[in-house]
Amino acid sequence: MTGLRGIIVSVLVMFAVFALAAYAVLSGIRAVDIALIGFIIFGTIIVLFAAGVLYQIGTGQISLSGIISEPREGPSDAEGNPKASLSRFQFLVFTFVVAGLFLMLSIEAGQFVKIPDSVLVLIGLSGTGFLVGKATSTIREPETPEDASKRKVAEAKELRRKAEELEAEAEDLIEPVKNGE
C-alpha cells in the first residue's frame, strides 16, 4: 500500500513538473525567472533539510555524545566509556574554523574565495592524523599468552576487590538486623 502511494505521489510530482515546464515554455518565461524559481525550490529543500538536521540535534534524535569519542570497541576509561580522541577534536575544530571563515568571506566578497595551499596542507595533515588514529585503534598486535595471563590475573584481582567491597556492604546491612534493631 505504501509502495502504491509512493508511485502515485511520484507520478503526480512528475506531472506537476512537466505542467510547470510546459506553462513556462508557452508563456515565454525569461531565463532569469527560471533561475530564480529554481533557486527558490532548491534553496527551500536545502533550508528544510538543514533545519531538520538542526531540529533533530536539538531534540536529541541525532546524538552528538560521541562526536569526539573513540569508537565503542576502542580504548575506554575505568567505567567503560570511550575516551576522547584528540585527532577527532582537531579535525572538528579545523573544519569549523575553515568552513565558517570560508562561508563568511565568500558572502562578504560576493564570490567563492580561494583556499591557499598552506591551509589545505594543514587540513590534510589533520586528516592524516585522524586516519592513523582510526587505523591504530582497530589494528592491534595479537595478545601474547603471557600478556593474556597477566590481563586475566589483573581482572581476577579486580573482581576479588569488588566482591570484598560488596561483602563488606552486605555485612553492614545485615548487622543491624542480627542485633534486632
Binding site: 552528538l64 562526536i67 576522547a84 577534536f89 575544530v93 562561508l103 566578497a109 564570490q111 589533520s126 592524523g129
Partner: protein, 120 residues
C-alpha cells in the same frame, strides 16, 4: 529579486552554522562528554607528552586564524588578478604543526607494537 533571495539564504546559512557550532560546543561541555581523555594516553590515567603540544597548536591555530581573518580588511585579501584568497598560514607555524602531528602519530604507531599498548 534574485539578489534579495540569495541575501536571505546567506543569512540562513550563517545562522545555521552558528546554531550548529553552539549545539556541538554544548555537547562538548556536558558533564558526560569525554573531555578528560583528550590529553591522556589510550587506556592510561596520565597525561601524554605528545598530546599536549598538538592540543596547544590546534587551539592556537583556531584562535590565530579566526582573529587574523576577522581583523583583516577584505581589500587585503584581494589578489590583483586572481580574485579573493583566504589568509595564508605562516610557514613557521606549519613546521611547528607538522612536528607536533608527527610526534603524536609516531607515538600512536609505536604503542600499537608494544605489549599492553605501551602502558606500564
Amino acid at each position: 529579486m534574485i539578489g534579495y533571495v540569495v541575501h536571505w539564504f546567506e543569512w540562513f546559512l550563517i545562522i545555521w552554522l552558528g546554531l550548529l557550532s553552539f549545539l556541538v560546543a554544548k555537547s562538548l561541555f556536558k558533564p558526560t562528554a569525554p573531555r578528560k581523555g583528550l590529553l591522556y594516553c589510550n587506556g592510561a590515567d596520565f597525561i601524554n607528552a605528545e598530546r599536549v603540544p598538538l592540543f596547544l597548536v590546534t587551539i592556537g591555530f583556531a584562535f590565530y586564524y579566526t582573529i587574523q581573518t576577522l581583523t583583516l580588511p577584505l581589500s587585503e585579501l584581494k589578489h590583483p588578478d586572481n580574485g579573493y584568497w583566504m589568509p595564508e598560514v605562516p610557514e613557521e607555524f606549519l613546521y611547528i604543526f607538522f612536528g607536533a602531528q608527527a610526534s603524536f602519530i609516531t607515538g600512536k604507531i609505536f604503542r600499537v607494537f608494544q605489549p599492553n599498548g605501551g602502558r606500564q
